[in-house]
Symmetry: C2
Subunit: 125 residues, 2 copies
DNA sequence: CATAAGAGTCTACAATTGTCAACTGCAATT
DNA sequence: AATTGCAGTTGACAATTGTAGACTCTTATG
């Protein structure tokens, strides 16, 4: 499933997705709750809502066992690709290379990053 | 004024900002309206709302003449920097170079883009 | 088997966003 | 001076988002 036509994932929902992406297997709500309660300070109810909305949106699959187990239906890479294209269109008027230019000139990259990127560009052909 | 503490600019509002960034001088609503009515099909009321909200948010300045003239208070570069940092944090867990990696591997860049980027990285030191 | 914990579902509610209409006052034109 | 058009302001309203409580039904445990 590509992210193309999927509904938009919101910032809060994205935190759930990131957790699911990090996990290798499907997770029961229990684990999702434990994690996000600690890291985000969210109430269990909030977490349950987010997971439900993600299921409704088709971004997360639920698998019935004793209890539902949840796993991502879109990969982090797909989402990243979409989010990046979205940024390029919305903010950079579709010019991908303007984004990279901005990156290079910003202080967002460390000297090491720049080195790495050079490496990357050398390797890519 | 840096964008750091400014309130978030929404997608619709961004269209107004882009117009103001393109214009060299401050613009009266008349011109903003004409442009966006054509390009976006928005009603005058909608456009007026967006401009007002941007003024309230501090993203746009109004200068009193016969009629108010509007101009950006934050530059496109500042906004781009902010939006890009935001993407990197939200989606790439703070790893700027992961973003570039994704870009390089995506089909978002043409072969020419890649050439250009190489150039960029060569020049940058 | 009775009971408690908590997963799953439903409902809620304020803030934000996308869209726009109505009113009000000034300014140009007759 | 009277009229008309439109800038500026206020209000509106539905959809989305962030955040969470309440209720129900299942399942593990005494």
């Amino acid at each position: 499933m590509s992210y193309e036509n999927a509904e938009k994932i919101t910032a809060s929902e994205l935190e759930v997705m990131k957790l699911l992406w990090r996990a290798q297997d499907a997770l029961p709500v229990t684990e999702i709750r434990e994690e996000l309660q600690k890291s985000k300070g969210w109430e269990p109810a909030t977490i349950k809502t987010l997971v439900s909305r993600l299921v409704t949106k088709g971004a997360v699959a639920q698998e019935k066992r004793k209890v539902f187990y949840y796993s991502p239906r879109i990969s982090e890479e797909e989402y990243r690709a979409w989010a990046t294209r979205d940024l390029i269109h919305r903010v950079y008027n579709g010019r991908a290379h303007d984004l990279v230019a901005a990156l290079v000139h910003s202080d967002g990259l460390t000297q090491e990053d720049i080195q790495e990127l050079r490496q990357m560009f050398r390797v890519e052909d």
